[in-house]
């Protein structure tokens, strides 16, 4: 029988069952604390991961444009070549012409961004094979513009004075991008006069590559004078992820405080319970139960409150966050990512630890009290 093999456990559960309401309330404190840690921790992580995913594409882009101080409006072929060298093996380099103009469809007209590039796939493909990597004739229109002007492949679109056949509609962009292809027209580069380009976009293979490309370009072109301005969102993304880390830490700290408060309530409950059972503990000591055995029994009591409260809190917290994810825009995969498994487990362990710590002093005080004084009552 287990009560004979684990006497401390058996005595502890019976003692807890004596004051069910009080034990329940103490455990409830841990439930609330662990629940807070789990919900805030899971939500914070999920938000952070979802945001990284949403913004992830941004981090790979480096946009090189003429520096304002240089007084130039365009980049020359020397600049483009320098960018190509800096980006060698780190990503795709796409020179881009950018202007604006009036675009007319079948009836309506609209002012739109006009991009010129020979490789729309790299910038606007968005992972779909529908966009060509070699753009020689006709126009690609953004999905928003296509809807507004009722354009589809085969339609004719007028850009300023020239008419083009629509060869494709760009897939909608779901992330955030410094380019706005949804309301733009993409034309082949030869539709623009001259070799000079407005900017060069580098689609790097990774955020690290983007960082390396950005510093490489600065080194090559800006060492003597400020020829180009290099815009990379990698640092912005770093800031964003820093912000999320800070936010998560802050949320967890608040939740942690509620768990510490729960520990104080365990401390209080254990102090009350050992004060009430002073005589009993004195008897245990008198009949030959050792101090450490009394201590163990009382610590098992406190820890049980933490185990039960922690398990309930971790389970409830996880369920609530999953429910929130299914009811809101927060993607479920961001909640259920493997890294998030640690949150309920960690919160549970922390809850048990807090309960154990809360029980430590009362248990120690009770077990080490001289039995004569305890028996005197």
């Amino acid at each position: 029988m287990s009560d004979r093999r684990f006497p401390a456990f058996s005595l502890a559960t019976r003692n807890l069952s004596r004051q069910r309401l009080r034990a329940g309330l103490a455990a409830l404190g841990i439930v609330i604390g662990v629940f807070a840690v789990v919900t805030l921790g899971l939500l914070g992580n999920a938000l952070s991961v979802a945001a990284q995913e949403e913004l992830g594409g941004l981090g790979d882009q480096v946009i090189v444009s003429p520096a304002e101080e240089s007084g130039r409006e365009t980049l020359d072929s020397r600049d483009v070549a320098a960018v190509r060298r800096a980006a060698d093996g780190r990503g795709t380099v796409v020179p881009l012409q950018v202007t604006g103009g009036t675009v007319r469809g079948t009836g309506d007209q609209s002012f739109a961004q006009i991009y010129g590039t020979g490789n729309p796939q790299a910038l606007f493909g968005n992972g779909s094979g529908a966009v060509t990597s070699s753009h020689r004739q006709g126009a690609l229109v953004g999905s928003g513009l296509a809807t507004d002007l009722a354009l589809r492949p085969g339609s004719t679109v007028a850009v300023e004075q020239n008419e083009y056949r629509v060869v494709g509609v760009l897939p909608p962009v779901d992330g955030i991008s410094p380019l706005q292809p949804d309301s733009a027209v993409v034309l082949p580069p030869r539709e623009f006069t001259g070799d000079e380009v407005s900017q060069v976009v580098v689609r790097a293979n990774s955020p690290e590559d983007a960082r390396a490309v950005a510093s490489g370009v600065r080194e090559r072109l800006n060492s003597r004078q400020q020829r180009v301005s290099v815009f990379s969102l990698t640092s912005v993304l770093d800031r964003i992820s820093e912000f999320f880390n800070l936010l998560n830490g802050f949320l967890l700290a608040i939740a942690g405080i509620s768990l510490v408060v729960a520990g104080v309530s365990i401390f209080n409950v254990m102090l009350m319970t050992v004060a009430e059972r002073r005589g009993e503990i004195g008897v245990l000591r008198a009949v030959g139960i050792h101090r450490k055995q009394v201590l163990r029994t009382l610590l098992v009591e406190a820890t049980l409150l933490g185990v039960v409260g922690g398990a309930v809190g971790a389970l409830l917290g996880t369920l609530v966050v999953v429910a929130v994810a299914t009811q809101t825009e927060l993607p479920l995969w961001a909640v259920l990512q493997p890294g998030n498994m640690l949150v309920p487990l960690g919160a549970f362990a922390f809850g048990v630890f807090i309960a154990l710590v809360g029980g430590l002093y009362p248990a120690y005080r009770a077990a080490w009290e001289p039995p004569v004084e305890a028996l005197r009552g």
Partner: protein, 231 residues
Amino acid sequence: MSAGPIQEATPPLALVDVTKRYESGGGGSVTALSQVDFAVAGGEVVAVVGPSGSGKSTMLNILGLLDEPSEGSVELRGETTAGLSAAERTDARRESLGFVFQDFHLLPTLSAVENVRLPTAFLPGDATDRARELLELVGLGDRLDHTPDELSGGQKQRVAIARALVNEPDVLLADEPTGNLDRDTGTAILEEIRRIADEAGVGVVAVTHDDLVTDYADRTVELVDGVMRDV
């Protein structure tokens, strides 16, 4: 009744020239026991009487290894207990001594059997059978699984006596064993204690106000202001 105290070369429990002083508030001290020599033999029942504050409880606590003398020593089977660690004293209590209290001090969450085997709870082996036998011995064979709140005062004290005997002690220390019982129940409990002393050869030291206890004792000693004398 008893054939009188059984004299042994070494008594199971003895006080040798024990003095106990307590520090009092004003820097002075109060002498609770003064140079007490005392021994209890196996099978002997000794009643300790005296007015309140005469040092009876102090003497019982020192005999029970719950408190330490300021001077002199407590001898357990002829060996001094001075210098034993707290853990060694705990073991000595468990192995050699049984306690019976005025307020019974049973654990309310445990059944009679569980209360009786409580001193063995952290030891290997299962004392359930022995606990059952002891409860039958004290006449509670039909109350084995009752919790203390389902038992009368006399029944509780019988459970406490069975608990005190579970480790086959040499000496039973009783603090006002009849203090919370009516006269008939008290008589029955004293008969029980007498029988245990006679049959099991257990020495009994009972601290009491109750003249009834002295009727069942082999001898009675009196404590007045910490000084012991025979009655």
